[in-house]
Subunit: 378 residues, 2 copies
Amino acid sequence: MNFSFEVKATDPTGARRGRLTTPHGKVETPFFMPVGTAATVKGLTQSALEDLGAEIILSNTYHLYLRPGHELIHRLGGLHRFMSWPRAILTDSGGFQVFSLSELRKITDEGVRFRSHLDGSEHLLTPEKAVEIQLARGSDIAMVLDECIETPAPRGAAESAVDRTTAWAKRARKQFLKCAAPNTDLPQWQFGIVQGATFADLRRQSARQLVDIDFPGYAVGGLAVGEPHDLTCEMTGVATADLPKEKLRYLMGVGRPEQIADYVALGIDMMDCVLPTRAARHACLYTSEGRVLIKNARYAEDQRPVDPSCSCAICKRYTRAYLRHVFAAGEITAAILGTHHNVHFYLDIMRQIREAIEFGNLAKFSSAIRARYAAGPA
Amino acid sequence: MNFSFEVKATDPTGARRGRLTTPHGKVETPFFMPVGTAATVKGLTQSALEDLGAEIILSNTYHLYLRPGHELIHRLGGLHRFMSWPRAILTDSGGFQVFSLSELRKITDEGVRFRSHLDGSEHLLTPEKAVEIQLARGSDIAMVLDECIETPAPRGAAESAVDRTTAWAKRARKQFLKCAAPNTDLPQWQFGIVQGATFADLRRQSARQLVDIDFPGYAVGGLAVGEPHDLTCEMTGVATADLPKEKLRYLMGVGRPEQIADYVALGIDMMDCVLPTRAARHACLYTSEGRVLIKNARYAEDQRPVDPSCSCAICKRYTRAYLRHVFAAGEITAAILGTHHNVHFYLDIMRQIREAIEFGNLAKFSSAIRARYAAGPA
């Protein structure tokens, strides 16, 4: 058994503390995955990610499918070897990026036809193809192709997206088991994705249909795309209520620092978001006291670290004044330092959340961080 | 005595092996200074520079004068503290950047009046001001303001630039000794700069006039700006012949990997150049076998490190295929990895040169690296 997931403790909120075991090491849950879109987390070397304690990262299928191509990565020994990352990797299906980045996309029952945003070349992404690409890349966790729709969505569109997502999930599971069958040990874990927009009954229906297919883990997709946080939480709660307790639950594309604990309280074990890396490149740094917009003139002579309570290498070495300067000067180094700090901040929040669950006081942690972030930038 | 320079060995070529001692540590000579224009070496953290073994870096006066300002850096404890770099720093006078970057520059005997390339604001840089700025920043080695002219230069322009450079050097020395006088230990070392374009007699005249002023070290400026390498060497040799043997000699703004040993053979102890960092950002990587233009399609599936004989962290971890991918994708990480490798390569060449001098075989080293680089990109 090269994959396993074990829940070791629960919190009164419903949060779970556990451990995922993969062929590329263990991952303490709940966890946050830094996003390494093109086989690199922008601004961080793999060595820096290791130093930061990242046990798993997310890599996007769409980008690497277009460049350098999954066949090339396969020939070079898979994604772990290609990017020299020995720890766990989750890959998405490519669907979300096709919907958000590519041109002239056309969705049919067969799959989604699109033009590359790089060179305009035409491609067809099917549920089966998304499986093959991710198997070729050798990620530890692969996601099925789902239909992502914009929200707020009319009920009809949400219904048909759920139907298609379920149909695609069946085909993806079949293809995965067919391709993976020769191996006694599964080469990767494949997760289904719950859709249903903001309709509770559709979320329930989607969850149940996916559970019938039987995946080793389930994601909740299509949330945190503009709707109010309370609604994100409501839909997440509805979906997780129908997902098996012994399996991993992944809320895709979240979240803000002050929201993460809310999702964990709803039984979510894993998350990913570009926020810490993207915000860092835009001079928004996260701290235990709230956001610091580091280019602000008020920091010009501020000799304090970005976050006096932070133990990261950046806070130990550099002042706000210096960070402000390198950001104002548009230096590459600014992105490196800012990203390092923000990713440390997110991974540290997860460490604190895991500890809070062990002590059974996640609710307290959650309200404390929310209060600090409600106050606005320092 | 908080500053000293000692020549410990010489090579038949005329190369010198020595040690510079500064209040911020010792620097083995001959050495190469990575360029940290805006108080950061683009793409490298200070921690990475330490890991690479950089004992001294160069920081540009012009950029930090305009942003964030030398008074601010002074209030924050000086440049070392501002950028958290505990090792030695050399600062230029700002003159070269004023000549190459600013707008509407006007040179008079008083100094150079210019408009900022950032906001168009008008400034006057005088020999005295360049001293004050560099003292405020607290660098270990400061350069006098010189008049840089374009080459090839007519003799008349070169003559008057030498005259003005000497006059400015006298004023700079006077100002420096006046400002530094209250200290028993000198707060920094100030170097004069030999000018004279490509006229041997003017180079000699400039060197002698500066030696009369008496600086603890001398730079040769205005070379490697387009003239043939042989002429650069000839002029460097002419200048160094008239410089005192017991003092440091700095050839500014050089050079290519295959040229560095030539300069050292002419008695040069120190160099700086943006080449390793700038080339890295443009996907040109230096190796023991010559230049590798890493975006070339031939590297798409190349599983070898950039330089199989390199011991840097990048060559130990990443393949050419991966580096090609991150460069092709325009990732920030590409600049980080490439810069790390190139700076390692330059610092390693200097280590090899120092060793070659100790063994008295620099000429052999020099012809070997020239042969490899003559072959063109791998």
